[in-house]
């Protein structure tokens, strides 16, 4: 993969807050910092993984990037253009360049619309093709998504397809307008492992064939390890560690990434892989939100005098590998011995 100079997508100190509703008198309203000054760059043609648990803000990031919501502060730039000010025709064009595949293949289709019309709809709204041309494009898109013979799928309805097939249709629908960036939000979390592997291969194929950049949002370090070139780990709206997928997962430096890896179920010959043990059993009392390190409350090596008051800065761990922790040290990787150890997806 050729590394171009300019990132295709850039997040510059993007912050997004939500407010919980509270009770009917307006008491108990709480602010939730979904994204706290998140900055990252995604290069053209790479598959970038955003890894986090539920509530980490990873889905919020995806929604901001495709323009479903607007950030409270900070900028999102696609190919150097800020997307916050796009209106009308420009915004429609942006929507064409950035497509999304959602998590739940059972809910992302209108049950009363045939596959043909669902997949062909973006062509109509974008004014790209109609009539026979549209039909041909839909069939080609289905075929490219591994649904062949395409004719036998085009006139079915969503309930006649399995989850894996529906997710393929969702990818066909996103790819039919030839986007430059595909945001895939947990596209396999509802699927069995063997079908997940098929969807991964489809996404890899899309990137290799068309050079489409993919932002892959996932809770699973294992699928990020398989699919992604680079990953960022996010916890409660804060980025913790960014680096090449292989580095981050084989040689994690942030205590949170280490805890995630510890918790990932494993099987096969995994006996001698030590646990990092960086997760505190009991949570520490809360600090005020936005102050200190987001992981302080659950971090074993944390020190109150430092971590509770001062947010850690990025520290260089290796080539393109950075980590936001006061205590992270560049060191030799713990010689990984997990070639026969498999990770749960």
């Amino acid at each position: 993969m050729a590394k171009a100079d300019a990132p295709i997508l850039e997040l510059d100190r993007v912050t997004k807050r939500y407010f919980t509703r509270g009770n009917i008198f307006g008491h108990g309203k709480r602010e939730v910092l979904a994204l706290n000054a998140v900055s990252l760059q995604i290069n053209p043609g790479e598959i970038f993984g955003l890894v986090g648990e539920s509530g980490s803000g990873k889905t919020t990031a995806g929604r901001l990037i495709v323009g479903l919501e607007k950030p409270d502060s900070g900028k999102i730039l696609l190919q150097g253009r800020e997307i916050g000010n796009l209106k009308g025709k420009d915004f429609r064009l942006y929507r064409r360049h950035v497509q999304m595949v959602f998590q739940d293949p059972y809910q992302s289709f209108n049950p009363q619309v045939s596959i043909m019309d669902s997949v062909g709809e973006p062509l109509l709204t974008q004014g790209l093709a109609k009539g026979v041309e549209r039909l041909e494009k839909v069939l080609a898109a289905l075929k490219n998504a591994g649904l062949s013979p395409a004719e036998s799928y085009a006139y079915r309805f969503p309930h006649q397809l399995s989850g894996g097939q529906r997710q393929r249709v969702a990818i066909a629908r996103a790819m039919i307008v030839e986007p430059s960036l595909l945001v895939a939000d947990e596209p396999t979390s509802m699927l069995d492992a063997s079908y997940s592997a098929q969807i991964f291969d489809l996404l890899l194929g899309v990137r290799d064939r068309l050079g489409t950049t993919v932002l892959f949002i996932t809770h699973s370090l294992a699928s990020a390890r398989y699919l992604c070139d680079r990953v960022a780990v996010i916890y409660r709206g804060n980025l913790m560690e960014i680096g090449p997928a292989y580095e981050v997962i084989n040689n994690p430096q942030h205590p949170y990434t280490q805890a995630l890896l510890d918790a990932t179920p494993k099987f096969g010959r995994c006996g001698d892989i030590p646990r990092h043990g960086t997760l505190l059993k009991a949570e520490r009392p809360s600090t005020s939100p936005g102050v200190g390190c987001a992981f302080f409350r659950r971090c074993q090596p944390a020190r109150r005098s430092l971590c509770a008051v001062q947010a850690p800065a990025w520290r260089q761990m290796g080539e393109g590998h950075v980590c936001a922790c006061h205590f992270a040290q560049t060191g030799e990787p713990d010689t990984p011995s997990g070639e026969e150890c498999r990770l749960g997806i």
Binding site: A193, H219, Y226, N250, G268
Partner: protein, 317 residues
């Protein structure tokens, strides 16, 4: 005597298109205090087996052949009254979507007290409450949360509450059907470790049902792999995961990424499982099997013992 002895179990569903043979000829045995994992893709019949063990098959489903012996008693010959006494008392189930298994308008502790009193009428409410407090401690939940409503619990706490409730009547056998699917990895890991500890402390038999072999591998001593309604490989966890022999198990294992080493290509299994309506000749996996020969389509495969206690349903392994 085995705690649970399943012999040649077949289960069918009456559908508009005919009889759907969801489970066919499944046999396995579970000793007290042992754990068995049932893994397979969705639709392979693993949940159907769990439901049958609880006597909770839907009205269009029935056991068409075989026996389920729990402590030597055949569940198939029991009427609904007898089953109700066995259910939750001797065998309890932890369902897939824990969030939906709790009644949202009743305090969690009260729901558990109800479960205890319903099955042990001799226990007073105060005594039941003391037992519930003990259960909360057992599954690592703060006792002061007993009087909360389900919506005040996090997903992990609801799952723990469901586990506590399953343990309330001190069953000897627990059936856990995808108990951690909706949870984050860190919470999932805590629940799995706790399940393992509880199993040891209480000498529980566990049938652990999941599509994710990594989760089953964390908990279970032996593993049964299911495909299209049949058990295709069974053995200890080490045998099945170190040396998988059935082509389906091998393919399933290869669809998970490795921790270290070169990024090896995952090998997704091509195609889809067969439809289970009507008679299937030969091996059910042969259309997707890299090793299939023309004979596989015609002959029913036979069980082979490839290692002590390690059995495979395949003629070419």
């Amino acid at each position: 005597m085995a705690l649970l002895d399943v012999q040649n179990l077949s289960i069918g569903y009456q559908t508009a298109e005919g009889l759907l043979q969801a489970v066919e000829g499944v046999s396995f045995c579970l000793q007290a205090g042992q754990s068995l994992g049932l893994v397979g893709e969705s639709g392979c019949g693993k949940t159907t087996i769990g439901m049958a063990l609880m006597g909770l098959l839907p009205s269009n489903g029935s056991i068409t052949e075989g026996h389920v012996l729990l402590n030597g008693q055949d569940l198939r010959t029991m009427d609904e009254d007898a089953l109700r006494k066995v259910r939750w008392k001797d065998v309890a189930m932890i369902f897939q979507a824990a969030m939906n298994a709790l009644n949202p308008v009743i305090r969690v502790g009260d729901q558990m007290i109800e479960a205890i009193v319903a099955h042990q009428p001799q226990v007073s409410k105060d005594e039941a409450r003391r037992q519930v407090e003990g259960l909360y401690q057992l599954v690592g939940m703060p006792v002061e949360r007993i009087d909360d409503f389900p919506h005040q619990y996090s997903g992990g706490m609801k799952q723990r509450a469901i586990i506590a409730m399953a343990l309330a009547n001190k069953p000897k056998l627990i059936i856990a059907d995808e108990p951690t699917t909706a949870l984050d990895v860190i919470v999932q890991d805590q629940i799995l470790q706790e399940t393992k500890n509880l199993q040891r402390e209480l000498n529980l038999g566990i049938i652990f049902i999941s599509h994710d072999i990594s989760i089953v591998a964390e908990v279970c001593q032996s593993i049964g792999v299911m495909y299209a309604g049949q058990l295709v490989e069974i053995g200890t966890s080490e045998q099945v995961f170190y040396e998988p022999r059935h082509p389906y198990t091998q393919a399933l294992v290869a669809s998970f990424p490795t921790l270290a080493g070169e990024r090896k290509e995952l090998k997704p299994i091509p195609g889809e499982p067969p439809h289970l309506i009507g008679k299937i000749m030969g091996c059910r996996f042969c259309d997707r099997c890299p090793r299939s020969e023309s004979q596989c389509k015609l002959d029913r495969p036979l069980w082979q013992e490839v290692d002590a206690g390690h059995h495979v349903l395949c003629d070419h392994c």
